[in-house]
């Protein structure tokens, strides 16, 4: 069971715990975020999103650029973040949702 209670693929909402520092200072490790899934075309540059990356797994990043074909370039907000170039462009279907709420300790 575990997380399936909270988050299933069909549910538009997601609830996640943030790990890592790459989204600091906006998001710190241990923060909780709620995401809302949007239609794939409705994401905007600057949105903070949770996405499933083929190599890095479930990541939380900011949208840096949206290609005309819908592929997304993500970025961290901290200089030490894995670079956009290293992460590469990902399909917008891999985005689980945009952050609509966060809570910090």
């Amino acid at each position: 069971m575990k997380s399936e209670l909270i988050k299933s693929e069909r549910m538009p909402f997601g609830l996640y715990r943030v790990n890592g520092l790459s989204m600091s200072p906006g998001l710190a490790p241990g923060d909780y975020v709620v995401t809302l899934k949007r239609w794939r075309s409705r994401y905007r540059v600057g949105d903070i999103v949770v996405a499933r990356h083929p190599h890095y797994g479930r990541i939380i990043k900011r949208i840096r650029e949206i290609q005309p074909d819908g592929m997304l370039w993500l970025e961290g907000t901290h200089p030490d973040s894995t670079s956009s170039e290293k992460m590469g462009a990902i399909f917008n279907t891999y985005v689980d949702g945009r952050i609509i709420f966060k809570t910090t300790l």
């Binding site: 069971m1 575990k2 997380s3 209670l5 909270i6 988050k7 997601g14 609830l15 996640y16 715990r17 943030v18 790990n19 890592g20 520092l21 790459s22 989204m23 600091s24 998001l27 490790p29 909780y32 975020v33 949770v50 890095y56 797994g57 479930r58 990541i59 939380i60 990043k61 961290g76 901290h78 030490d80 973040s81 894995t82 670079s83 290293k86 809570t103 910090t104 300790l105």
Partner: protein
């Protein structure tokens, strides 16, 4: 309040984690690896020049020479690599402000390292070590550590800058 509630939920059902992934900034930087590589370069030059004293080289000598040359070159490359890592990953604007010449120094280390690959003259190795020592002194200073120089207790018995860790 909200946080405490979510925290409790997290403990009960273990919420999925979203990783704000970093490029593992391990913060382990130490110029000693470059210094040891530079000492090795000098040592290999000494051993190559010892072989040069002989009137003729046996097959075994020639095999040894081949190994020494190969190792001299790979250690010169290692010295360059180690300095590049510290320069690229650790040296940022605050360190550059403290040592405005650090980029020029790193570049001269790159050139000196390449010169060690090209030649067998000991002074080329000594120059590489001197420059890397200079870099090490600057590096430890940016860490707030003082340094001292001592002769390394093994061949080639050259002067090395060490951090004072007391």
């Amino acid at each position: 309040m909200m946080y405490a509630l979510l925290r409790t939920v997290d403990r009960l059902v273990s919420l999925p984690a979203a990783s704000a992934h970093c490029d593992i900034p391990c913060k382990i930087y130490d110029p000693s690896a470059a210094q040891i590589a530079a000492l090795s370069v000098i040592r290999f030059m000494d051993l190559i020049n010892e072989l040069g004293q002989k009137d003729s080289l046996t097959l075994a000598d020639q095999a040894l020479l081949a190994r020494l040359v190969e190792q001299k070159e790979s250690h010169a490359e290692k010295a360059k690599h180690e300095i590049r890592i510290i320069w690229g990953d650790y040296i940022k604007q605050p360190q550059r402000d403290a040592y405005p010449d650090i980029d020029a120094l790193v570049h001269s280390i790159m050139l000196a390292g390449s010169a060690c690959k090209q030649g067998i003259e000991r002074d080329k190795g000594e120059k590489l070590l001197t420059l890397i020592n200079e870099f090490a002194a600057a590096f430890w200073d940016t860490k707030g550590l003082t340094t001292f120089t001592a002769t390394c207790p093994y061949p080639p018995s050259e002067t090395v800058v060490y951090p004072k860790l007391d």
